[in-house]
């Protein structure tokens, strides 16, 4: 078998498994979602009363939602859902009536990508770099300090970091906005005011995400580097008198391999957004969309969001697996290198 054919077969296998996995998740989530107890219309009606709205106003605001509730037997609904799914139609939202779920997910995804992707990449770069230093200088104070910072940040829940940063930089010393993705004063587009506002509002969410993820990367990288440092090929390279930069490259390339898979999965997971960060900073991404869809029992939106997260992870898995063969010769040649 030629190499091209082998790759094609490998990709086809991955895709087939991915499609089956997506179907299984879509089916399971469809039935689980329908089993979540609670009447969304009654819930919304009572919530409006709780907010001080008069019964008439609350009735007017909710009566029409009955038309958006799923109808027919569960099986009929499932068949309809799968049929629509094949056409890329995720249905209509209940919490935002009259709007397609695909539109809501698309809008939320655009807000998730900036903070979560930036946070993931920043924390990865920072964690990996600091991890190498922490391993090399593990007997010194710098190494201890870096390892300690990793352990500490790894142990603090993301919502604690988020609330702490909000309390400091948005309330006590209000130099950063406490919520929202961009100032509404600026006309959307490629103008400095709008872009500046976008970045300004992204600072706290990105820093929170970076700090929350950094600990994991630095600890994992340090541990990998320490393990690789004891390998014979590093000793041989040093004995052969190879330049320090080349030895470092050997070291980093081998130590980073396991982290690469995690990074790929993290990027896949970004379609799940970051629930706590988006909630704390009122960032209208996929995580917040999922939370809101659950509390409002928006079945179509819940199903759509679960599906997009699943697809993200499946695709990331496939990409990670394929890229792994590129960066690790042992995998490429069937583990005989």
């Amino acid at each position: 078998m030629t190499r091209g054919a082998a790759i094609t077969r490998r990709v086809a296998g991955h895709l087939a498994r991915g499609v089956v996995m997506i179907w299984v998740v879509a089916t399971v989530s469809f039935f689980i979602i329908r089993e979540i107890p609670g009447d969304p219309v009654q819930g919304m009606y009572e919530s409006l009363l709780q907010k001080g709205m008069s019964p008439q106003q609350a009735e007017r605001a909710t009566a029409v939602l009955y038309g958006f509730l799923p109808k027919g037997t569960l099986w009929d609904q499932y068949v309809g859902y799968m049929g629509s799914l094949l056409h890329g139609d995720l249905g209509q939202s209940l919490s935002t009536p009259g709007v397609q779920v695909t539109h809501l997910i698309g809008a939320a995804a655009s807000w998730t990508v900036l903070p979560v992707l930036a946070g993931t990449l920043l924390s990865f770069l920072l964690g990996v770099t600091m991890g190498v230093y922490a391993a090399i200088r593990r007997s010194g104070k710098l190494g201890d300090l870096l390892a300690l910072s990793g352990s500490l940040l790894h142990g603090i829940p993301v919502y604690v970091i988020g609330l702490l940063l909000t309390a400091i930089f948005a309330t006590l010393w209000p130099i950063l906005p406490s919520g929202g993705p961009v100032d509404v004063d600026y006309v959307p587009g490629l103008n400095p005011g709008y872009i500046g506002s976008l970045l300004y509002h992204a600072v706290l969410p990105v820093v929170t995400y970076t700090l929350a993820s950094y600990g994991g990367w630095i600890l994992a990288m340090k541990s990998n580097v320490v393990a690789v440092l004891g390998d014979d090929f590093i000793l041989a390279a040093e004995l052969r008198g190879l330049k320090r930069g080349i030895v470092f490259r050997y070291l980093a390339r081998n130590a980073i391999l396991p982290l690469f898979t995690i990074l790929a999965l993290s990027i896949g997971m970004l379609f799940g957004g970051s629930i706590f960060i988006e909630e704390i900073f009122n960032y209208p991404g996929l995580g917040l969309l999922l939370v809101n869809s659950i509390s409002s029992r928006d079945y179509a939106l819940m199903g759509g969001t679960f599906l997009i997260i699943t697809v993200g992870i499946v695709v990331a898995n496939i990409v990670a697996d394929l890229l792994y063969t590129v960066i690790d010769p042992r995998v490429r040649s069937g583990g005989t290198a």
């Binding site: 907010k51 001080g52 009735e59 709007v99 406490s178 919520g179 959307p188 970045l199």
Partner: protein, 601 residues
């Protein structure tokens, strides 16, 4: 070097943006920007600019207009401030209402607001159903005929099944421009409506289905731009905020202070607290605030609170189908053991006043309805001795300092509450602690979210739960919370029926008839009668229902709500005073009424 330059450029953009702060807005004139939140909904930038969409980017009082705005009257639901309707007249039985429009009212595109706009708005309201626009011919208080008298006058006739809420429901109609929304109604709409309302059989069913079938289309309708008859018109919206600019054609434009309004979004109360602590908001409607946060808000320069009547009451409701809560002596004993003052101080120090007694009505409305009769009600003051006597009367026994059920089994009181309502959770903890002090084993059980809580409550899974009551000012709405669907009485199309406890949402499980004033009465029937009774008869019915509620205690009234609004007078002044009749309306309506002026330096 190149990378450094890029980073420096980005940093300078961010710094410039940060230094600009909230004040850097182009186009804001001397009136400045008024910043607030919409307490009734979160901003959804994906939703259309359409008032028929529950989450649409239309904000009542700013770019959303009704015929009139309801005053915060404790007893009369039919008193309103003029809005699109300058004035109105009605026959004594509200069978006919004539509405006179503001002569100078114009849409933000310059076209006049006419009777045709009102008629189209009413037509669109029929597609949504409910209140004055029910298609069921038997429904009480439905509009039967809409007639344009002249371009500024509309006459609306009520159907045969009258309701005293007709005027109120009619004046709450949202008005939209016919030249934008009119095409949503098919050409034969009004003929179809007649068939739906006055015929029976398959033709009428088809007509009703045809009208309600328009609902999705109406809700999804997304005008390209906002056309508003209010003081403001939407300039743009994003997921974080909506920005509205002045509508130069507003009929009373000269009284509007701010040039723009910014409505900030929020995902929870914590964000509103942060906005208030950082001084960003000029006004925020009622928000539950813990005492420590309240102290910090008060420290902000210009920060203040205005408060007034809010016809909402928090109660502890019993499932009378569950033992021992079917026994009135048990319910009374619990009422005697709850220190409502302490509960309110812990749970809602700013947003509530301890209930004076249990009548089913907010104390202020109760005094107005009942007069001297209010003082005659049993106040159920904290009295452990009376509680012990009631428990003994219920057959309970005290063993080892703890109360046990008549059969000798331990009595475990479980109070259910949704976990997301911090004030209710605090109240429940306070109550269980108090009951524990008096020998009753009590615990708080939280439910993950409100929707689940309501679902389990309706299924009759709880013995005791928190429940909102006293939703005035309409007397029917007040008692419908106690003697309505939750307690077995169902009113559909003007017909009342009672269902057995544990079925069709009857989780309160009270008896269908009770003894009151020497006669047996049906509280649900009396509540239904409030819909169409004369004012004198309404007063009589309310007296009976208050007495029944006070004696039977299907609920224990804990605290009456206080409408607490946050204001900041650093930038704007002229907010309504305490107890203003406009307090429950948005600050956009306050502006329409000539309130809120820019603070002069």
């Amino acid at each position: 070097m190149k990378r450094l330059a890029t980073m420096a450029a980005l940093a300078s953009i961010v710094t410039a943006s940060a230094c600009g702060g909230a004040g850097q807005v182009d186009g804001a004139g001397p009136g400045g920007i008024f910043t607030t939140i919409d307490g009734s909904k979160q901003i959804n930038a994906s939703a259309p600019i359409n008032p028929f969409n529950p989450v649409g980017s239309v904000f009542a009082g700013y770019n959303g207009m009704e015929l009139a705005w309801p005053k915060n009257d404790p007893t009369d639901p039919n008193v309103f401030y003029p809005a699109i309707a300058r004035s109105w007249t009605e026959t004594p039985d509200q069978s006919q209402v004539v509405i006179h429009l503001q002569p100078n009212a114009r849409w933000s595109d310059g076209r006049p607001v006419t009777s045709e706009d009102v008629k189209v708005s009413i037509g669109l309201a029929y597609t949504q159903g409910g209140t004055a626009y029910a298609l069921d011919p038997a429904a009480a208080g439905a509009a039967a005929d809409v007639r344009i008298v002249d371009p500024a006058t509309v006459e609306i006739t009520q159907g045969a099944n009258k309701s005293s809420m007709f005027l109120s429901n009619l004046l709450s109609t949202v008005v939209v421009p016919a030249h934008v929304y009119g095409r949503l109604l098919p050409g034969n709409f009004w003929q179809t409506l007649k068939v739906a309302q006055y015929s029976s059989g398959p033709a009428a069913d088809r007509a009703r289905a045809s009208i309600t079938g328009l609902a999705d289309k109406v809700i999804a309708f997304a005008p390209k731009q906002d056309v508003s008859a209010g003081p403001f018109v939407l300039e743009r919206v994003n997921p974080g905020a909506a920005l509205l600019k002045r509508n130069p054609y507003f009929y009373n434009n000269k009284v509007i202070g701010p040039d723009k309004v910014k409505v900030l979004n929020y995902t929870g109360n914590e964000q509103i607290w942060n906005y208030l602590i950082s001084g960003q908001l000029d006004n925020a409607p009622f928000t539950s605030v813990p005492a420590a946060v309240m102290d910090r808000i008060r420290q902000v320069s210009g920060s203040g609170v205005i408060s007034g009547y809010s016809p909402v009451v928090t109660s502890l409701a019993f499932n009378q189908a569950h033992k021992p809560y079917d026994n009135v002596h048990v319910r009374r004993a619990l009422a005697y053991l709850i220190d409502r003052r302490q509960v309110t101080r812990i749970a809602s120090p700013e947003g509530g006043t301890p209930a004076v007694t249990t009548s089913g009505i907010h104390a202020r409305a109760a005094k107005a309805w009942l007069g001297g009769g209010f003082d005659a009600l049993n106040p159920y003051r904290l009295d452990p001795a009376k509680a012990a006597a009631e428990l003994k009367a219920a057959g309970m026994t005290r063993r080892g300092g703890r109360w046990a059920l008549p059969d000798g089994k331990p009595w475990k009181v479980e109070i259910h509450v949704p976990a997301s309502f911090s004030d209710w959770v605090s109240a429940a903890k306070s109550i269980t602690s108090q009951l524990g002090d008096h020998g009753i084993d009590a615990s708080v059980v939280t439910t993950a979210d409100y929707t689940l809580y309501l679902s389990e409550l309706a299924q009759g899974k709880y013995d005791i739960g928190f429940w909102l009551i006293g939703l005035g000012p309409s007397p029917y709405n007040i008692y419908q919370r106690i003697y309505g669907q939750a307690n077995g009485w169902q009113l559909f199309g003007g017909r009342l029926k009672h269902v057995a406890p544990g079925t069709e949402g009857n989780w309160m499980g009270g008896p269908q008839t009770v003894q009151a004033g020497g006669a047996r009465v049906d509280p649900g029937q009396l509540t239904g009668d409030l819909n169409f009774a004369s004012p004198a008869r309404q007063k009589q019915i309310i007296g009976t229902l208050a007495e029944v509620t006070n004696q039977q205690l299907p609920v224990v009234q804990l605290w009456d709500y206080v409408n607490t609004q946050f204001v900041n007078t650093s930038r704007y002044t002229g907010f309504p005073p305490n107890d203003s009749e406009a307090l429950r309306l948005s600050s956009g309506v306050w502006m329409q009424l000539g309130m809120i002026r820019k603070r002069q330096a």
